[in-house]
């Protein structure tokens, strides 16, 4: 019985009565939506992406474009196939595409990106129910898949930043270069120092992104700024990133040195690889990480532990991706172990 009394001013004439909606309370909403959150995350990555396109040229832009388009198209097709509402406009597939491009070396052959996107969006996300139901971070599984299928491209397709300037238009033919972590893995801190000159130059190169690496590894400072922006916007909380970064710093300081306990270089490790990106953008992924503060702290601690273990003792130079994926698998347990604290205990029945 949707009726209402509508009067135009100064007359008995009635306009069409408004259609009244009935629904459950609450009748007001904060205004913060899923799409709003996702696009804010995209926005926060824009400075780092712009810097990367400057460093690595059209190659990086093409990688980004192919990756995002693959993810969005595959998601749309999946949603159509599975008869779900098409929700690609919520931006979640865009983020997966961006992150996937950021954790892939810039000069990999572009045709591998749709394959990675298929793995990330179709297998990891849509097959298990779509947004909100995946256990593992889609972009990270995409990267792990590429590492397994294209190990050579995934470990050697790094180029020196700004090499496209020197090589003119021949960016695709750029000589592959070793990332600082690869140098560290194979030649120790001496090799890193030899390559960069001095300790200070290492840190500044790392912070500004003037070193070979994936887009998500290079401008550590800009990525951290994006993360801090998300913190201030209330989109992520500090728990997981802080726990993860502190754990890695402490462990690499204690065990990372070549001259005994406590001789490691935590700053080098913090600024290197995908640690900052992983801490702010992947260990904070709503779907695949715990939802309570304590759970997030434990999750970050676990990721930090595994990252340090893989970096210092494992076969790969970098371990953030695998560390997060392993902890993703534990998230359902963390949700149980770190359930929210209730307002009050149940009333005990008096004997």
């Amino acid at each position: 019985m949707a009726e209402s009394n509508t009067r135009s001013p100064g007359g008995e004439q009635k306009t069409a009565p408004p259609v009244l909606t009935v629904g459950i309370s609450p009748h007001i909403h904060s205004g913060r939506t899923t799409a709003g959150i996702m696009w804010t995350v995209v926005l926060s990555l824009a400075p780092a992406l712009a810097a990367n396109i400057f460093f690595f040229g059209t190659r990086a832009a093409a990688l980004l474009l192919v990756s995002v388009l693959s993810c969005v198209c595959i998601e749309a097709v999946c949603q159509k196939l599975f008869r779900r509402p098409i929700r690609v406009r919520d931006g979640s597939a865009v983020i997966t595409g961006i992150l996937l491009a950021m954790i892939t070396p810039p000069s990999v052959p572009l045709y591998i990106m749709p394959l990675a996107a298929l793995m990330a969006i179709f297998v990891v996300k849509e097959l298990v129910g779509g947004l909100g139901f995946n256990v593992f971070n889609p972009a990270l599984v995409g990267r792990a898949f590429l590492m397994a299928c294209f190990p050579v491209a995934m470990t050697t397709a790094y180029v020196d930043p700004l090499s496209w300037l020197e090589a003119g238009s021949g960016a695709a033919d750029a000589v592959s270069a070793a990332t600082p972590l690869t140098l560290l893995k194979h030649g120790g801190m001496d090799a890193v120092l030899q390559h960069y000159g001095s300790g200070l130059r290492i840190y500044s190169s790392l912070a500004l992104g003037l070193h070979p690496g994936s887009m998500g590894e290079t401008p550590a400072l800009l990525i951290a700024l994006g993360g801090i922006f998300l913190l201030f916007r209330g989109i992520i909380t500090w728990h997981a990133p802080a726990a993860m970064l502190v754990t890695v710093a402490v462990l690499t300081w204690i065990f990372g040195g070549e001259s005994g306990l406590g001789s490691g270089d935590p700053l080098f490790h913090l600024l290197n690889g995908g640690l900052i990106l992983g801490a702010f953008y992947m260990a904070t992924d709503y779907v695949t990480s715990p939802s309570t503060p304590k759970g997030k702290l434990a999750f970050g601690l676990g990721v930090g532990l595994l990252t340090a273990l893989i970096r210092l003792k494992g076969g790969y130079p970098e371990g953030v991706a695998y560390a997060i994926l392993l902890m993703n698998a534990l998230t359902p347990c963390f949700e149980r172990w770190f359930a929210p604290k209730r307002f009050a205990e149940p009333l005990k029945a008096k004997a």
Binding site: E3, T6, T34, L131
Partner: protein, 444 residues
């Protein structure tokens, strides 16, 4: 008595800060709506009962005077109902009801020539607590904040849980609503006297009026109205946060006591009454006036003229809308109560009962109307839940039809404040999932 208000913090767990939208009506004095030609008084004005709570004690064509008894309880939770106007009973039949659709009611044709009744003040201070309690019961007072629990029952706590403190809920934490605020500004002495009366009924020495720090003028009015006979009544100024006005949250914010899960406030020695109820107690005890009027906020951008109205019970939404100049073309939702917990209705023949605190006319831009999406597990619902529950897991299990599994997430402790759904970025109807899960897990 220049005792200053005491500053308190707020409840600890969860809570939100929605835009309060109180500016629409906060500066409008309480206005008495003229009596319409006919009123439809439902004989069900309180907390829902399994069987009809009240039966009519008047017949068709009976002459009524304002305040005369027309309905008597036939259920232990029932309360007296009085005629809100002078006139003639047109019929005893069924009338619209906001929750039960149709209930027995009395329709009265108003006699405008009837003299105004006079409710003369009496010497209430010589009355005993027991006498006051029976006056309160006869006057048909129920919880006026919306719950509608009979006040005389609430003021007779079980012997095994002694009560030592009274809290007056003056938080009015729901957005838009200002009726309690206006009562505090305009009738602070009556509120304080009402509080003293309830203290006497309960036999407690201490009472706190819990009021949020966004109402400094009301705090000032109450401070100025305090006299020697209000000893023991303190003003607890609380940091604004929704849902401060929830009993358990208010008790924790002021006393630090935590009501156990599944227990009533009396378990920690507290009784909570809201401002409207306390004023009704004052009117019953000091003036002998039964409950037949209600002060409510009519607000929202969908009504031509927002107001704080004193209306007769049984006045319909249609009569109120007409009095206030109609609704706007972009009206989208009509809500009884506040926008966080209020009941959404679409029937303008619904009459006002004792539990109405507001009628909101929300436009498309004010009301949340969008469809919902999948849960992204962001955890916002968990972080804002004042009871420490896990609405996102409840909603997942409820959506899958696995209602028994929702019990592990504390679904029975949910009092449906709506913080979770207000925050949910996927706009999931979490309160609905909570309600549904409670219904599917009845307490035996």
């Amino acid at each position: 008595m220049a005792q200053l208000a005491t500053i308190f913090s707020t409840f600890t767990l969860g809570g939100i800060h929605p835009p309060d939208s109180k500016e629409l009506s906060k500066d409008l004095p309480i206005e008495t709506m003229p009596v319409p030609d006919v009123v439809s008084i439902p004989l069900n004005m309180q907390i829902l009962t399994a069987s009809p709570p009240v039966e009519a004690v008047v017949e068709k064509k009976a002459a009524l005077t304002e305040g005369r008894l027309i309905g008597k309880p036939i259920h232990f939770l029932g309360v007296n109902i009085h005629s809100s106007v002078s006139g003639t009973v047109k019929s005893v039949e069924t009338v619209s009801h906001h929750m039960l659709l149709r209930v027995p009611g009395v329709i009265v044709d108003v006699d405008r020539s009837a003299p105004e009744p006079s409710w003369a003040p009496r010497d209430w201070q010589s009355l005993s607590g027991a006498e006051m309690l029976s006056i309160i019961r006869d006057a048909g007072v129920v919880g006026m904040g919306g719950a509608g629990f009979p006040t005389h029952i609430k003021l007779s706590p079980p012997k095994n849980s002694p009560v030592d403190i009274l809290l007056i809920n003056a938080a009015e934490c729901e957005p838009y609503l200002n009726c309690d605020y206006r009562l505090m500004l305009e009738r602070p002495a009556d509120l304080l006297d009402g509080t003293s009366m309830i203290m006497k009924v309960l036999g407690v020495e201490k009472a706190w009026i819990g009021i949020e720090d966004n109402k400094p003028l009301a705090v000032k009015a109450l401070e100025e109205a305090r006299t020697g006979r209000h000893d023991g009544i303190g003003l607890a100024v609380l940091k604004v946060k929704y849902p401060q006005g929830s009993e358990k949250q208010l008790i924790q914010a002021i006393t630090g006591r935590v009501v156990p899960d599944g227990a009533l406030p009396a378990a920690v020695g507290a009784v909570v009454q809201n401002v409207g109820t306390t004023i009704a107690v004052y009117e019953a005890v000091a003036l002998g006036k039964p409950v037949y009027e209600k002060v409510l906020t009519v607000s929202g951008r969908g009504i031509a003229r927002p107001a704080n109205l004193k209306v007769r019970l049984g006045v319909t939404l249609r009569q109120i809308v007409d009095y206030l100049g109609g609704t706007t073309p972009d009206l989208a939702k009509v809500v009884l109560g506040g926008p966080m917990m209020g009941l959404n209705v679409s029937d303008f023949t619904i009459p006002v009962t004792k539990t109405f605190s507001g009628i909101l006319f929300l436009t498309k831009s004010e009301a949340a109307l969008d469809d919902f999406g999948p849960c992204i597990r962001c955890g916002r619902c968990i972080s804002v839940c004042p009871m420490g529950l896990n609405p996102m897991e409840v909603s997942a299990y409820a959506e899958a039809g696995r209602y028994a599994d929702t019990l592990a997430y504390g679904v029975r402790s949910c009092f449906e404040c709506g913080c979770c759904a207000y925050m949910c970025p996927a706009k999931r109807p979490l309160v609905q999932f909570m309600k549904l899960s409670k219904l599917k897990n009845p307490i035996r």
